[in-house]
Structure formats: C-alpha cells, structure tokens
C-alpha cells in the first residue's frame, strides 16, 4: 500500500520534473531545427517548393559554385584538422608525462587563449600577416628580404583555423592520455618495446577516443566558420559559413541560407556517424 502511494508520488513528481527541460528542448532545440528545414523547403512567398534546392544545382554554373563552396570549405577544414592533430599530439603526449605542476600550468596557459575572443585574435593575425606594414613584412623589410604575400592566401585562412581551434585538439588528447595506466607502458617496456614501440603499440591505440573527439571538435567548427576567411582570406575565398552569413545578414535570403545550413548540418551528422564507427561505439567521445 505504502509502496503504491510512493510510486504514485514519484510518478507525479517525475512528470513535473521532466516537463521544463523537455519543453525547453522541444521549443529551443527541435523546433528551430525544424524551422531550418521549413524555410529551406519554402520560397520567399511562403509556398512549399523545392525551388531553393533546385536553384542551387540547376545550371552547371550553380552546380560548380556549390561544389567549389563545399569543396574548399571541407578541404581547408581537413588540412587545419590534420595540422592541429600533428601539432597537438606530441604536446599532449609530453604533457601527460610531465609533473603534476607542469601539467596544471600548461593547461592554464592553453586555456587562456581559448577563452580569448576569436574575433580579436583573428584580427591580431591580420596585423601580424598584413602584406604592406604587417609585423612579419616589416621584419623582412628590415632584413632587406623579399616579402611574400601572406594575407589573403589559403594558408592564412588555414592558419586562422589552426590557431582558433588548436586548444580543442589538445584538451581531449591530453585528457585521454593522462588516463593511460602507466603500468601498461612499463609492461611494454619490460617486454622489450622501445620508446617508439610503446607509443605505437600502447599509447596510440589507447588515445584513439581522444583523437576522434579532437578531430570532431576541430573539424566541425572549422568547416562551418565564418569571419576567419573574411578577414584572413582573399575576398573571393568564401567558405560555407560565410555564404550562410551573407544569405542571412546581407541579402536577407533566408531560404537559401536555411537550405545551405541544412546541407551543412546533414554533412556534419554523416561525418559524425562515420567517426563514431571508427571509435567502436566508444562512449564519452564528447567530453569537453
């Protein structure tokens, strides 16, 4: 009897407990995503139509533009992700082997630039890379060396991506590697593995979840970034993010913007699913 009463009490409170969050998720997560789909299947007059998508792939020229847009964005993001991985891995590896104090200090030093606003940091890179009076250009001038074109190149855009998202690669790698049981490393060494052998046979396989999560945490923001390429790239290097931003802010073409966002979102979801296959369904890949 008492048990039933308690169950009822719990049942009722479960409903009241669940309601606020479920409501919030519905209204501010699911409905907005539905809106994106809704707008991409409507034209400016508010009629159901596939015109928006059709316009994106109608003519050979439109097809090529779309292909270039996504191709360039994905290529830049991929290169940036790979550079981040190779820059971050040794650092995270050494960090996980350092003393407690060094680990903590390094972590703090890496966190601070991450918390700095990316708009201002990107803008400072413009100052460094500027072709005429930039810091590097002035320095080369001082040495009477020829000045290469730095700002407005694909390299500058990729540099901006690497700079802004590198900490997001270091964090998960470090957090996974610092959890590797040191006795596993010792066991491998006892069994005759060299330093490189330990890395290849023990640390690397054990850090796969960190690599996966780092790759997603760098690739997703890189592929969808805007502003970075507007500042650091040539005016014609537009990435998907810039194109979406332009559609919404400049030309007020919500429908095209929504359609591009929908494609971007689906692309990211597919990438995530593929990555999850690689990690053998390992949970907790999205630890921040």
């Amino acid at each position: 009897m008492k048990a039933i009463a308690q169950k009822q009490r719990r049942g009722l409170s479960a409903l009241t407990l669940n309601t606020p969050y479920l409501f919030w998720c519905l209204v501010f997560v699911l409905v907005p995503l539905g809106m994106v789909a809704f707008f991409s299947f409507h034209n400016a007059q508010g009629e159901w139509t596939l015109d928006v998508f059709r316009a994106l792939i109608d003519t050979p020229k439109a097809r090529r533009t779309l292909f270039e847009l996504f191709g360039v964005s994905i290529l830049y993001a991929l290169i940036a992700t790979i550079i981040c991985l190779f820059l971050a891995y040794p650092l995270a590896y050494y960090m996980s082997h350092a003393t407690q104090k060094t680990q903590r200090n390094l972590m703090t030093l890496i966190m601070v630039p991450m918390l700095m606003n990316f708009v201002i940091c990107t803008y400072c890179w413009v100052t460094i890379l500027a072709n005429e009076h930039g810091i590097i250009a002035s320095f080369l001038d001082f040495l009477n060396l020829p000045k290469p074109k730095l700002l407005g190149t694909p390299g500058a855009v990729i540099l901006g991506m690497v700079y802004n998202f590198l900490p997001y690669m270091i964090m998960p790698l470090y957090s996974v590697m610092s959890k590797v049981n040191p006795s596993l490393v010792e066991a491998a060494q006892d069994l005759g593995a060299t330093g490189f052998g330990v890395l290849r046979k023990v640390t690397l396989p054990l850090s796969v979840p960190g690599i996966i999560s780092g790759i997603t945490m760098v690739f997703v923001p890189s592929v969808s970034t805007f502003y970075i390429s507007q500042q650091l790239g040539a005016s014609k290097t537009l990435l998907i993010g810039d194109r979406i931003e332009m559609a919404f802010v400049m030309s007020n073409d919500f429908n095209t913007g929504a359609a591009l966002s929908l494609i971007l979102m689906l692309f990211v979801v597919v990438c995530m699913m593929v990555m999850h296959r690689f990690s053998d369904g390992e949970e907790g890949a999205f630890v921040v």
Binding site: M35, I120, T225, V269, V288
Partner: protein, 276 residues
C-alpha cells in the same frame, strides 16, 4: 643512460611547448604591445612609444563600457538560469526509468554540442523571427532573444556536467532522507544538493565562460538594443581601426588570466587540504 634520455626529451618537450605556446600567444602579444601605442598614432599596424592614452580613451568610451556591462550581466543571468534549469533537467534525466527515453533526451541534449554553431545560431534566429511575426511584434530580435539563446547553448554543458555527479550518488540516500520524514524538497536540499555541489559550481563557471566568449550565436540573435563585447569588437574590426580595441581586449585578457590563476590557486589549495 635512461636518465640521460629523459633529460634530452625533457628539453625537447620544453622547446616544443614553448613553440606551441608562442604560436598561441603571438596575437595576444601583438594586442598587448599595440594597446600601449602613443596617442597620435591611430594606426594599428605600427608602433610608437608607450602610453596609456588608449586605456583612458576606452575607459571613458560609453559604448565599450556598456558592452562590457551587458556581457557580464548576460553571462551571469544566462548561466544562473541555465544552472537552475539544468539541475532540474539532470535530476529528471537521471530518474528516467525507461532507458530509451533517457537515451533520446540525451541525444537531443547533445544536439547543440554537435551541430555547427552557425546552424544553432540561424535556427534560433529563424525561430525568433517567426515567433515575432506570429505575435505581431515589431522588434524581432532583442535582449530576450539573446538571453534565451544563451540559456539554450549553456544548458547541455550544465546537464552533462551535473549528470555524472548524480550517477555517482547512492539513490538510497534520498530515500532514506524521505523515510526519515523529509519532504521531497527538503531531501533535495539536504542530500542531493550538497552531493552535486561541485558539479553545479563547475557547470556555472563553464556556462559563464561560454556565454562571455560567444560570438557566432549572439551575432545572429542579437538586436540593436543589446550589444555584448564580442559583438562590439566585431563591429569595430569591420568599421574603423583604432588601438582602443587593443586596450579593451588587453583588459579582458588580464581579467581572464587573473581568473585562471585564481581558479588554479583554489584548486591547489583544495588538493592540499584533501591530502591532509
């Protein structure tokens, strides 16, 4: 032999981390240096002898100071609401009996984390514009939409940092408190809350930092009445360039650095106390 190799690799580690940190701090160094530019020098690409002129300039700049106040106000408010809502959410998710319901809710919670920020931003913007049209409001985007958006993107972090704490807790503790005569509310405040306190604190700090730093989502859901610091900086980099923007960001940098040092210090002290 082993010892020697250890020293070599330690030196290499030191050099390598200095290179990476140098890369991470290069623009910040530029920012700090140029913030001390002389008064006459309006250019942001050349440097003349040090002065505090631009700091004075920015501290009397009403727009900049208002943006700073707005940012802090919004971050604290959004993080506070997100923590309250998120704690309720985490408890409700933790108590869900049906596994598939729990999985589904967690998937939805994860969505804003996995989605590109720009998609979250424009999806919220579309919602707000649509809602404003339905309600016949003239002003579509304003402070309220900013607040709602900030709460929305802080919530997943809050839920996901409190949930593990709840999972560590013995459910019998709450039942015991209730058996001993506590009401559900009292049991929550007496048992659950102290247990998950560290999770709540770290969730709050995380939510504040994310909200303070957010640019992409704010950019799409902000109206003209409420400008935060990232948005203000963005508008400055688009229009004109004066070194006051560097002075402002140097102040922000100093604040972040001090906060990080402080949290580091608190952590070390807590660990020392735990050891004793």
């Amino acid at each position: 032999m082993i010892k020697k190799r250890g020293r070599v690799s330690r030196t290499m580690f030191l050099i390598y981390s200095c290179i990476v940190l140098g890369f991470l701090y290069a623009p910040i160094a530029v920012m700090v240096l140029f913030s001390f530019n002389a008064k006459e020098n309006r250019s942001t690409t050349s440097f003349q002898p040090a002065s505090l002129y631009w700091y004075k300039e920015v501290l009397v700049n009403d727009t900049a100071m208002q943006a700073l106040r707005n940012t802090i106000f919004l971050a604290l408010l959004a993080a506070g609401i997100a923590v309250i809502l998120g704690t309720i959410a985490a408890i409700s998710v933790d108590r869900m009996r049906r596994k598939w319901v729990q999985t589904a809710v967690l998937q939805v919670t994860n969505l804003p984390l996995m989605n590109p920020e720009i998609v979250t931003g424009i999806s919220l913007m579309l919602l707000f514009v649509f809602a404003a049209q339905l309600l016949g409001l003239r002003e579509k985007l304003n402070f309220t939409t900013m607040l709602l958006a900030h709460i929305t993107f802080c919530l997943p972090y809050v839920v996901l940092s409190i949930l593990p704490k709840l999972r560590q807790m013995d459910p019998h503790l709450v039942e015991a408190a209730q058996d001993l005569g506590c009401s559900q509310f009292r049991a929550f405040f007496k048992v659950t809350l102290p247990f998950i306190r560290t999770g709540i604190v770290s969730a709050f700090i995380m939510a504040v930092t994310i909200s303070l730093d957010d640019f992409v989502i704010s950019y799409f859901v902000s109206g003209s009445d409420f400008v935060t610091l990232p948005l203000y900086l963005f508008s400055l980099t688009r229009k004109r360039v004066k070194p006051d923007i560097y002075a402002l960001s140097t102040l922000v940098f100093a604040a972040i650095f001090l906060l990080m040092l402080l949290s580091n210090f608190v952590q070390i002290r807590a660990e020392k106390r735990a050891k004793k």
